[in-house]
């Protein structure tokens, strides 16, 4: 009897939490996700009144047009004064089944421009790499392009994929993220690509990073520990409009604007987690600041 109880406790032990009565009980799904995916000192970033970030520059980097994990935060920060730029790395040649490659790349490029406008970005850069083939491209070349952009635009804040997110299956995501991480580090240094300085561009390294990853999602065993939850309630309409701007290719199975709106405004795991933090809508990041 004693041995069987011990085994059951062991089976649930890793997912259990001590309640006030001092006995162990299994966590519900959302609690388990909170414990596993969020740092104990997670910061909730709320709206800041006025435009305290005027003069600062952010870059939101998506590998693909449907990588929307940071669009709300970008919209919020732009609302608070940032000048924002969107960079899309892939050309989506493998997207949009039913269309030729040429149709797909042109339609999605136009949609992405509109996505950038929907969240308030000043400009969208398209780097044009073949989708799903990025592991074949030179990470050094990709890094060089980001170093140039970080310096040219004098970027303070980067929002993109977490380069060390576990079990990220899409090579475009982690290749993009690692190139950006290295570029961020090098772009502030004065011996990397010094020919830039000859053209009047100075060394400049972004200090702030909002790294997103797949999840929180129990179906996707992502063990990234988020340490920042951003309240995007005030910009949820912009986030929805950004998704709607992807008229031809995007998240979910339907591109109908009403279906898209229902996906955001209805229930679901993300809203459950947001509500755990007292928010209606949120995005989740591994956040870092400083060199």
């Amino acid at each position: 009897m004693k041995r069987q109880k011990s085994v059951r406790e062991t089976m649930v032990g890793s997912a259990s939490v001590d309640n006030t009565a001092g006995t162990s009980a299994p966590l519900d799904d959302a609690s388990f996700e909170l414990r596993r995916n969020f740092h104990e000192n997670v910061v909730v970033e709320r709206d800041v009144p006025g435009q305290p970030h005027k003069g600062k520059v952010l870059v939101l980097v998506m590998a693909h047009a449907d990588d929307h994990s940071g669009t709300g935060t970008a919209a919020k920060l732009i609302q608070e004064g940032y000048t924002g730029y969107l960079v899309r790395v892939a050309n989506e040649d493998k997207s949009l089944v039913g269309h030729s490659v040429g149709e797909a790349v042109e339609l999605i490029a136009e949609d992405t421009d509109n996505l950038g406008k929907a969240i308030g970005c000043k400009k969208t850069y398209h780097l044009g790499y073949s989708k799903h083939d990025m592991e074949d491209i030179s990470i050094q070349e990709l890094r060089a392009r980001f170093i140039f952009l970080f310096r040219l635009l004098k970027v303070d804040t980067v929002i993109t994929f977490d380069p060390w997110s576990h079990y990220e299956e899409n090579p475009d995501h982690y290749w993009t993220a690692r190139a950006i991480e290295a570029a961020r580090w090098h772009s502030g240094m004065s011996k990397d690509y010094p020919e830039h300085f000859r053209a009047g561009i100075k060394p400049h390294g972004p200090k702030e990073r909002y790294y997103f990853s797949r999840g929180p999602n129990l179906n996707h065993y992502n063990f990234t520990q988020f340490n920042r939850v951003v309240d995007i309630g005030s910009v949820i309409e912009k986030k929805i409009n950004a998704d709607i701007a992807n008229k031809h290719w995007g998240l979910g199975s339907s591109r109908d604007p009403e279906d898209i709106r229902k996906r955001y405004m209805g229930g679901g795991r993300r809203r459950d987690i947001a509500r755990r933090f007292g928010l209606e809508h949120a995005e989740f990041f591994n956040y870092m600041n400083g060199s």
Partner: protein, 294 residues
Amino acid sequence: MVSETTNNVVIERKLSGKPNRGKVLAAVCANITDIPIYSSGACAKLINEGYEGYLIRVSNDELHGDGSIFQNIHGNETETMKSAKALGFDETFNLYYQSSNIHGRPLADLVVRLVFIFRMLKADTVMTLMPSGFDDTSPEKETTFNAVKQAVILAGNKNYYAEHLDAGLMAHFVSKLYFAVNLNEPSLNRIVDISSAVEQKIDSILECTTQGIGKKGARLRRKLASEGKQLPILGKDDRTANREYIRQFILDTDKQTGQKNGLEYAETFCYVDREKSGEAQKLEAYIEKHAIEI
């Protein structure tokens, strides 16, 4: 001024005045000695005729010299600047790719840097070494040649690295190419008269001392002296010995090429005028032959 030889090789002679004022020359070398030995005469000639000249050295020359890797890098870096100054180059860009592993590095990275530089400088003419047929070909030279060929084409395409345009750089068409070639290279089609620039060529080679070529004359003079011998052409001091060694033993091919073509000294190139593409030339010839008055 150019003139044809009997085998359709053009002789490019010295021009008086500065008819090329306002034009930009970008000379790209893998190693410190590539330009001095193979094309410095042509570089000096074009710069003397008015070109603004820029030297771009791709490798760090870490393997070229008798010192440690780090001594070689430092020595060759200093000497590259001095050698470039002797030829009249306005500025030098050192890209510092490691000699030992440049062939393992992605070409795309070097290409993007060259495209940036060609656009920034608005290079009209690019000069580099075509490695085939030369004895001292190396991975650095092959990589540099391949990267230059690609960069020249891509620099003129506005969709390539379009973000450059936001820095005020425009897509830029490089119109003329000089590939320094071996005498036996089938694509040799231009002989450049460097007679007026020979002393500058010797000056530029003289600066290359870390990897030895600039001090061979003095070394030889000392060696012969230790054997109780001397060569009159090496003179009585190190400077004379070094200069005359270069003139006699490094520039001998330039002298032979020159004299075969009625010149004192000459360098050999595969020259490409990109403004006169095959189609453009056909069109021009056809119009000349068939166009009639309306």
